[in-house]
Amino acid sequence: MKFNHESIEINSGLMLVLTLLAISIGGLVEIAPLYYIEDTIEKVDGVRPYTPLEQRGRDIYVREGCYTCHSQMIRPFRDEDMRYGHYSLAAESQYDHPFQWGSKRTGPDLARVGGKYSNAWQTQHLNNPRDVVPESIMPSYPWLLKNDLDYSDIDARLRALRTVGVPYSTNDEEYAANVEKFGVEVAEMLDINKAEKNLLAQAQSQNWDGDNTRLTEMDALVAYLQVLGTMVDFTKYDEGYFAEFR
């Protein structure tokens, strides 16, 4: 039998195999090399995994579907730089699982929202956006202030992230490696054995949601928002340094 497109079209098994092959090539060529090309992740100081409280806030961010309206990816264009700040680096989301880059912006990008507004503003705004921004179309999230934060499974959550490569430590050896990489202060925060203690301490360290007598979901979410995009000190790097990685 002559081999032509007809033989593929009338043989569904063969068509299935060839379709898979064609799609895999596209995927493999575009995605796989990112794992072994050296320049994918920029060499930059300051980026660390989230603390237990921030990580818990990040889980709430994902739970509430914030990513459906907010991206966390500033692109290297002049207009984005002027509005949001320095474009996002791959290094800045290297510990994000899953990453929150996104491309849908009903609301503004949040990649550098950390420190832009006060804790009080974030709390008021999440509770009812129209209290502070009358023209806002963002939904209200009043339950964040009402719900106590469930942190009973925080070590399991960190352990899950550790499985996919985030350097939370479980033993002395891993702890020592973190001290080397991030310094003592951060390494302490990444110790899974102290996760609950660290979470509670950070919740008390400042007034996240305006009420220090209770630990709410709002505390965790505000702590997460306030760290977004603040880890890299861009004044330390020459313009063009990051372009070397592309």
């Binding site: 290297p76 002049r78 006060s118 804790n119 209290d131 502070v132 063009g240 372009a243 592309r246």
Partner: protein, 307 residues
């Protein structure tokens, strides 16, 4: 459309379903085929010009280049990439150059020169309006008037907590502000707080219970309350502490005008005395450039209440 079954050049796939259902086997339209060949050629050209194929731990960078200046002013040429293109656009793009011309002029000028030069004023108004909307409006409201009384200072009125001179406004933007008033809930009884609230009412010329107000005055002006430390004995406030002027009937925290009866007004004032205030304006020096802060300073000063 012509009935293609009459066209002898068109073949069928040779199958017949249900007796007479046949499938044509038309060749691809010529225009489509040539567009396909053209896109194949384009792909190869693209591979040659731009970053494309992974090889081991690196990739082909392409022969297209981008040239820009690094922070030392040296010219750097590297393989074309979006980050280098971005730096180049910021340094020499048409729009960036237009803006840079004005930014340079503004950054060299004094505040007086900016305000007195119609060209620079127009530029300041248009660019600072956008900067304000992106960075300040979330709290202070579009145009400088916040959504609710009490949460954030109104920038359109004459009342300033930290001063309304250009230098004071600039300092607020650069370093931020920490508004703090201690909570008196644990120091003073509810009765005494009520008395102080009555006295504060009289400072702004509102009606209050005279007996309570006079008792409140003693607490306010004495060491029991010590309110005069920051608000001064006249109640006119102190810019260095961010302490509000209590005599101007402008209420920056308690929504006194919004409360209907005198009793309600006293209640909102009492709440402030009881709970204190902790307000924070973030510092902007790391987020905004010196020139951007200068433009915002002129803009905020011009919103209505600049001193």
């Amino acid at each position: 459309m012509a009935d293609q079954s009459q066209n002898k050049a068109v073949q069928t796939t040779g199958h017949a379903w249900d007796g007479d259902l046949q499938e044509f086997n038309n060749p691809l339209p010529t225009w489509w085929l040539w567009a396909f060949y053209a896109s194949c050629v384009f792909t190869v050209v693209y591979w040659i010009l731009y970053p494309a194929w992974p090889i081991g731990d690196t990739y082909t960078k392409g022969i297209a280049t981008t040239t820009f200046q690094n922070s030392k002013g040296e010219e750097v040429t590297m393989g074309w990439n979006t980050r280098a293109e971005f730096i180049k656009d910021m340094q020499s793009g048409t729009e960036a150059m237009k803006q840079a011309e004005y930014l340079k002029k503004v950054s060299a000028a004094s505040y007086e020169e900016i305000v007195n030069d119609p060209d620079m004023t127009a530029f300041t108004q248009s660019i600072a309006k956008v900067l304000f909307a992106d960075n300040c409006a979330a709290c202070h409201g579009v145009g400088g008037q916040p959504a609710l009384v009490g949460l954030y200072p109104n920038l359109r009125d004459d009342a300033w907590l930290w001063g309304g001179k250009l230098s004071q406004i600039q300092h607020a933007i650069v370093a931020g502000r920490n508004g703090y008033m201690p909570a008196f809930g644990e120091v003073l009884s509810n009765e005494k707080i009520d008395q102080v609230a009555n006295y504060v009412m009289t400072l702004s010329g509102l009606d209050a219970d005279a007996a309570k107000a006079s008792a409140g005055k003693a607490i306010f002006q004495g060491d029991e309350g010590g309110c005069y430390y920051c608000h001064t004995s006249a109640g006119t406030g102190m810019y260095s502490q961010g302490a509000a002027n209590l005599t101007d009937a402008v209420w920056t925290v308690a929504n006194v005008p919004g409360a209907e009866t005198n009793k309600d007004k006293i209640a909102v004032i009492s709440k402030v005395i009881k709970d204190g205030i902790q307000r924070k304006m973030p510092a902007w020096s790391e987020r905004l450039s010196e020139t951007e802060i200068k433009l915002l300073t002129v803009y905020v000063h011009g919103l209505g209440g600049g001193q």
